[in-house]
Symmetry: C3
């Protein structure tokens, strides 16, 4: 087949196979534009850390105003697309550009509040990890800082019922950090996820203050075939204050509450609530330790 | 040492330490070229989703033909390198460019078939996840769509015994999504991996229809010291229709079959077959729950 | 609020919320510069693999000298920033640029030694994985090669007490591969991590020769609230020669030693030492397998 034939065949498939095309509609928010905006928002949150050259206080106002102006314009365009795609209310449906302007400004006004809670996260990371040599190292080299900053920003948009953009933002961070933190989750202060790859926090989680989580931890929902009927219900667990959850623990269900001060051991699978100040681990006696015969040749590693 | 001395020392090491150089050979397929081609193939599969501006039906034919033409030329170059590196048969060895032309066209003709099965994957994701607000959200913000699209494309090349390119394609998606889906795996329709970070599906897996898998799931092989002797044998499990596998479950071995309709709980480690309609979980009674003394001061989190 | 008001509010927050700003200081090492340098170092280690065009022996010296010269200059700049930020000794404090020059040259002189041990890692990967069709496939399409190359490079800087740069380097690889390998870890020859997403190796780990690890494996520390008091102590396990660790196993604690020749099963959680030649798995008898009633309609997947 030549190019024309290959193209015709594919276009025939566009007509035949629906549901995975997006043609003739209004523009959807652009993934690449939102990636670039989110990167700039992180720069606004942590001034001086992610710029090639150091920022001096004397230039700070001009530099910040320039970046703010650029972010405002670009974000407003994407917000307008999201609102046209799915208006949060009737007024926004009638005047999407005006609604986008208001929502964008309101969102950017929330940045200083986001900074206040992010400061407690950096403190928690530093207090909790002896491998951290300084707070600068945490901001420069801990992927958690990026993932939590983006989740807290996306949560501000999620609360305002902006479609698509919050999830595109957290997926950008998910791709870069391995942490899948849903914009809907409510997360308290002094939060810390160490290492973080594979950690999942679901849409309806509620997490208290001073919670520490490791990589590979799931705060998830039970699976169901009737997925869409459960939309909006609380499907993910609640984690109270001062809980620590070790790597690989899986905690499921909307009625599951991990009581304050509890510690959940690694690789545990929990679908029930746990009282405050509990320690949950699998019983070590259930481990089977066998002696393999020592061999002269390298072990064959077989299990 | 100055630059010349540093260079001389390194070049001496190139001569001395073999096995990790690639010099004077034919070109290998380029990772960066294949990354860009794979991105464009995903755009061809989901028209209108990953473009900056919306595509209208009137322009669709011209836009698609232009992209198809570009992909055809670039992919043919990489295919030619792969065939020269390891010809799939004697004819391809004698005339690699001609074989590359034919294989490229044949592969591009398979795109509409790939679209048909991808549509069922999008449906399964939407039906299975109450957090998904729309099918547009799934295509824009679920990393699974990218990883399964790339695996299904790479599988078409793997079936045609094209070397290196299929694995470079799936590793591109692995790096972006955390899902390591081998091009060799045979995967049925209505497949869905939620979250996905850390999920591994091995080369000789066979997966039925309507299977739902979470992040951190391994469908893997037993380890062995005599690795290369097992090449080509079935080393990874079979998963029958309508199976659900919760986060962190590890299922190993080529003779392991998970029977149709079964549910595998989180963090389970399985190396044996399971009958149809089974529910496999660790017994909750084996969990040890201890009460820690409540304290006035913040818990010290120690396990 | 308009842009000026939004900017003023954010700048007021910069003044009020300390600890996450970096203003008026010396430059910190740049994440993007270090990303680009690290990519070039990997090209120097594996000549001919990551270049668009093939390198011939006749051009090798010129090409290598050009790249070496470029890396030397750029790395020296970043080293100087790191030494100014945290001088490893008094002499470096007095003359940071001179110390950066010396450290950079010393580091680049270590590249051929790093190549020698990386060759054993490639051999181990090829011997250990039947899915690998060739050593070229391993270098082009196994994320482990990138993560271990970067860890071994970063370890050379860590040993020389260079601040920030080693961790920025391994986080670059972590973001691309999902493997979080701390620059401080001491890792023997013939090492292999298969798949790798979610594997964590802590700062004070000591790993012997011929060790094989899968994805999702944690060699970590116990959590503690008094994190910073433990800085410098051995907090992560030791893994002796010829150990294999299956996916998802979590091994914690600085006094934990996994004896030579042992095999650790998937998803096991261990905080105690294991004698040589042990096989550690959870007892399969503790698995609860229930029969679900077969249904005429699709299973509802509920657990």
């Amino acid at each position: 087949m030549n190019v024309t034939q290959l193209t015709d065949q594919l276009i025939a498939s566009y007509a035949r196979v629906g549901g995975i095309n997006y043609l003739d509609g209004k523009n959807l928010p652009s993934k690449s534009a939102i990636a670039s905006i989110t990167g700039d928002l992180v720069r606004l949150l942590f001034p001086g850390f992610f710029d090639e050259k150091v920022i001096h206080s004397s230039e700070l106002k001009v530099e910040t105003a320039t970046l703010m102006d650029s972010v405002l314009g670009r974000l407003e365009d994407e917000m307008c697309k999201a609102i046209e795609y799915q208006p949060p209310n009737d007024e926004a449906k009638r005047a999407p550009r005006k609604a986008a302007e208001a929502a964008t400004r309101e969102f950017l006004a929330s940045l200083s509040g986001v900074r206040e809670i992010l400061q407690t996260d950096v403190e928690a990371a530093y207090a909790g990890d002896p491998a951290a040599a300084s707070k600068e190292e945490i901001i420069l080299a801990y992927p958690f800082i990026e993932s939590i900053a983006v989740q807290r920003l996306a949560h501000e948009l999620y609360r305002r019922q902006i479609a698509l953009i919050p999830r595109i933002m957290t997926e950008w961070a998910h791709s870069r950090t391995g942490m899948d933190l849903h914009p809907g989750a409510t997360i308290g202060s002094h939060f810390f996820i160490d290492h973080g790859t594979g950690t999942v926090i679901g849409e309806t989680c509620v997490i208290g203050d001073h919670v520490k989580i490791y990589h590979g931890v799931t705060l998830g929902a039970r699976s169901t075939s009737g997925g869409q009927q459960l939309k909006g219900s609380k499907r993910h667990p609640s984690i109270e204050d001062r809980v620590t959850i070790y790597p690989g623990a899986t905690i499921l269900g909307g009625e599951t509450v991990i009581g304050a001060g509890s510690t959940i051991g690694g690789n545990v699978f929990i679908m029930q609530s746990v009282a405050p100040n509990s320690l949950v681990i699998y019983d070590g006696l259930d481990m089977r330790v066998l002696q393999k015969p020592p061999k002269g040749k390298p072990a064959d590693y077989q299990i």
